[in-house]
């Protein structure tokens, strides 16, 4: 994998702050975009743009074709049919829509199971649903290595929601194993792919899950592009979560009928440019190769852990399978202060609770600093990170 060549596709990486080149290590929050993706969006707006699924004229047909081609391309990446591939704004919207649409099938005798490592977007919608329906909410705990601990699903488990990858620790969960376990109790299985999809391709049908959600912006795609996938037979039975244009076939004064999948779940004018950009992002990632990217991330993580061990930092989690995420702290220093010092050295990391307060509370700290790598990061950026952390330790540690 030629990282220097890849970096040329991301002009933003040459930006300088305070006389230093940007080291963008905040990929778990959002990734940067290659020119190929921006050009694809630009081309749509400049050459093929009209509203989709409406016009009788050539340009609208062209726009519709571009949008539906993007759906096919994105769906193919994770083994989904077009009917099952619903475009949303992001993972959060996908999961909220799901919790809303499934709310009638959850009652007070049911239990929903989530995990301590879920992002708020895969916790709060289910927690609030449980509160509304007086259903039980259970948590699979996180063990000392930062992995999911053994868990016996209650027999009334109606739904199990878990992340493919922890956005704080980088832990990769065994999707098939957990889906199988929850399925034994007859649960619907929801997988949050926000932190996983950018690094590990999933085949939804082999995975054993019923629903899968991910965001385009974390995997080189535009902000505002996201996906909700569901098994066709389930989606067909579920009510829409947004009403309006594009999602109906027949509307009368007293009743309406819904369009076929996936349009039933795509009310209103979609972010077609976002979908087209996401399709291009997947082209880009596949051409580089997901396994090569993950291997590269592992090399960067190894170097980080070696350097951090020399410095003497608190590093959280040592999962057996991980993506390019390292969460850490300097003992007695606040994560935000470390983040500010790194920011001053043009090193972009995230300091905070990473929308995962349950997990960070379990770690026993108010916040952590998180460095998260992707295909364009380099060993020299890791060295700069370590140098800057060393300085921060002298000041705050």
């Amino acid at each position: 994998m030629d990282v220097e060549k890849i970096r040329k596709d991301f002009p933003i990486l040459a930006k300088k702050y305070h006389g230093k080149t940007l080291a963008y290590l905040d990929n778990a929050a959002s990734s940067q975009k290659p020119v190929q993706v921006v050009d694809a969006v630009r081309d749509f707006y400049l050459n093929s743009y009209a509203n989709v699924h409406r016009g009788s004229y050539d340009l609208s047909v062209e726009a519709t074709e571009a949008y539906e081609k993007a759906r096919k391309r994105v769906g193919k990446h994770f083994g989904a049919k077009e009917k099952e591939t619903i475009f949303t704004r992001n993972t959060t919207e996908s999961l909220n829509a799901l919790a809303y649409s499934l709310s009638d099938s959850i009652g007070e005798d049911d239990a929903i199971v989530v995990t301590e490592m879920d992002h708020h977007s895969n916790l709060v919608p289910w927690q609030q649903l449980c509160l509304r329906k007086k259903a039980e909410l259970h948590f699979v705990e996180v063990d000392g290595n930062g992995e999911l601990a053994d868990f016996d699903f209650p027999s009334n488990t109606a739904l199990f929601a878990f992340p493919h990858v922890s956005n704080v620790l980088g832990t990769v969960n065994d999707v098939e194993k957990w889906a199988k376990k929850a399925k034994k109790e007859g649960a619907l299985v929801v997988l949050d792919g926000a932190a996983g999809a950018p690094h590990i391709p999933l085949n939804v049908h082999r995975s054993g899950v019923d629903f899968y959600a991910f965001s385009g912006h974390k995997m080189l795609g535009p902000m505002g592009s996201g996906v909700l996938w569901g098994k066709q037979e389930l989606l067909e039975k579920m009510p829409p979560f947004l009403y309006g244009g594009s999602m109906i076939t027949n509307v009368e004064k007293g009743k309406s009928e819904w369009a076929d999948l996936p349009h039933k779940f795509e009310a209103g004018t979609p972010d077609a440019g976002g979908a087209i950009g996401l399709a291009k992002a997947i082209d880009y990632l596949e051409s580089v190769g997901f396994s090569r990217i993950l291997e590269h991330e592992h090399a960067l993580v190894k170097k980080t852990l070696d350097l951090f061990a020399e410095i003497g930092l608190d590093v959280y989690g040592s999962p057996s399978k991980r993506t390019g995420i390292v969460s850490f702290n300097i003992r007695n220093a606040h994560a935000h202060d470390i983040g500010m010092v790194l920011g001053g050295d043009a090193i972009a990391v995230r300091a905070g609770v990473h929308c995962s307060q349950v997990l960070v509370k379990k770690l026993g700290v108010p916040a952590t600093v998180r460095a998260s790598y992707y295909l364009y990061n380099t060993e020299s950026e890791v060295e700069r990170l370590a140098d800057s952390v060393r300085k921060a330790k002298e000041v705050f540690g």
Partner: protein, 148 residues
């Protein structure tokens, strides 16, 4: 040690705010701790990051006789609490209630980045909140706006 960015001359507000006097307050926060049976107490929370500060006040004759605080926060938030506590100890409650974020920034005498501005607020808000609670519990008819 004071913080020195290693690229000479580069204007760097990230580093400029960690001045020696700020770091001194952070490392040795004045009036830090808790208090047995305070006259008033309140928690200030930074909505942006979830950090918090508990303040404990001893009040006598409408003056702040003593202040303690217990905080989880960054260097800026701890320094702001420390500097504020030194400044308001012994001052009339009315004076403290009129203080604003600008007053704290002047006391801190440091240029903060936009992202760190909110860190200076919880200490003042908690102090003023505690005074409000105290006043409600000690309202004279005149204070409460009742006809005498």
């Amino acid at each position: 040690m004071d913080y020195k960015p290693d690229d000479e001359g580069a204007a760097n507000m990230y580093h400029a705010m960690y001045k020696e006097h700020i770091l001194d307050h952070y490392r040795h926060p004045r009036n830090s701790g808790t208090m047995e049976k305070p006259d008033a107490t309140a928690r200030g929370i930074s909505k942006a990051c979830g950090d918090f500060i508990d303040v404990f006040l001893r009040i006598k004759d409408n003056q702040l006789e003593d202040i303690k605080y217990d905080s989880i926060g960054c260097a800026i938030s701890i320094a702001s609490a420390s500097i504020l506590s030194e400044h308001i100890k012994g001052k009339p409650l009315d004076y403290i209630m009129k203080m604003t974020q600008d007053d704290i920034l002047k006391l801190m005498n440091v240029q903060l980045s936009a992202a760190k501005m909110h860190c200076t607020l919880p200490a003042l808000e908690a102090t003023q909140g505690a005074i409000e609670i105290y006043r409600k519990g000690h309202a004279t008819p005149a204070d409460a706006g009742q006809p005498v």
